[in-house]
Amino acid sequence: MSTRESLSLEPELEPRLKLVEAGSHAEGAPRTMILNMGPQHPSMHGVFRAVVELDGETIVNVRPVVGYLHRGVEKLAEARTWAQVIPYTDRLDYISAMNNNQAYVMAVEKLAGIEVPERAELIRVIMAELNRIQSHLMFVGSFGLDLGAYTPFLYCFREREAIYDLFEMACGARLTTSYLRIGGVARDLPEGFLPKLKELLKAMPDHIQEYNNVLTGNEIFQARTKGVGYLSRETALAYSITGPMLRAAGVNYDVRKADPYSLYSRFDFEVPLGQNSDSFDRYYLRILEMQQSVRIVEQAVKALEELGPGPIQAKVSRLLKPPAGEAYAHIESPKGDLGCYVVSDGGTKPYRFRWRPPSFINLQALPEMVRGWKIADFIAIFAGVDIVLGEVDR
């Protein structure tokens, strides 16, 4: 039960709370009660708080309360030079640092008109797709964990560890990679990277089969997710939902196909679509996306080997001064359509740096999905959104 203090943020819930406090038998008392989940609830992904209004066990309404992890990155960036912003983008969606790096450097490259060498672009694609696999592994693992399946979590983290090892080889860090640079990448791939990567790619289909055997095919898991948390196609579009959540509703929108960037138009891959727009579809879509990402990495590795050694950095001044103007670049991050908007006044620092985090926008549809479901289903629906609070709160 929430306290009065924590509810002071919810003005419309306040009168109802008073009635609840007066006792459920009092005249005119609503049949609902208010339950505060988070910001330190074990199944909340990060410091997220949900104020849930319940009628018995049925959810009447939910208010997502965000902002506990706000660090003001957009403002911080205004006091950094263009290159110095990159380490900050790592810490937005910290599960997929490579994709964040990519969105930012693409925006700056667009602004400054920098041509990226082909080898660097191929390395970027490999890293971005590896990061997508890694982020989806994290999702699959934690999704099972939220529903009480502990084992798949450990299997997922085994492969995730292998990908982190590859990141460590390439850029010296596992989580906060800071690998991409304006005009290229920080370092060339080290010796032994590609053989290790190929080994992982070869084993990946078997591993995905293992997750399917342990989790996807499990009847209890299916009973808890199938048909749960329906979100109609129209509502999803009205909320500007992107990423796997939108595709689970059957809308074919993937930035890699809809607005091809980097070298994605060169690779052969499919965009998996869901039909039922429920929690299960959102989960299974990510498994299918992992398979497609493996395909892209395989093609990129082949292209990289054919290309041979070459420059990985375009000639960029160390103290970059892009011409005054603005640029917007967006990519398909593991969570959805990730956009970065930068404004330059011709100086060494961004005049404005704006981040469009997909999970913040996807989170807004949470009330639409959970209304009418039981409190236990809330976890299954919420986990399916796949939010990262570093990105939501920025």
């Binding site: 110095q84 090892d165 370092r187 055997n213 342990v214 499990n218």
Partner: protein, 185 residues
Amino acid sequence: MAYGRGALRGLRVTFRNMFRRPITVRYPFEKLKFAPGFRGGFRFDRDRCIACSQCANACPNNVITVKAQRGEDKKLHLTGYEMDLQYCLFCGYCVEVCPTNCITMTDQVALVATDRSSLWVEFDKGELPDPAKHGAHAAVNPLRAATGAKPQGPVGNVQPVQPPHAAPAAGGQAAQPGHREGEQA
């Protein structure tokens, strides 16, 4: 019967995995090697530093302070190299721009401290003190040794300094071992 089939298939995977070799190691008794080029702690070679301050300019968070004096030969001479590691992002920009490779990164990862002032370190020559060499106290807080909180035997080559927000240093040389004396870890 059909209902439990999926669960049984899952259990079969678990059963097969029971006979696989473990993929984890018994940390901290066994440690895996980091990849070369890992971005951990710092090593600083004072002799090679030309006091160009490029590292300080590249740093996103103003972690590095380069103190230099112009000598009689009109060349810059390094008088102090300080880092406020509490703000370090470990992005490696300082290492990337260094023209003489005098600042490099090591695979030291245990850089945890219980108070902020001990994260202000001055490098003389060498890397941050190795926690393994300085007993249990330093292992918990390797940088504590750098502030000279307790005599711990050899504390490497890191000289303690007064943090700038504390009392203003009387002389140019800010080394004041024991300014945190008596404080409990």
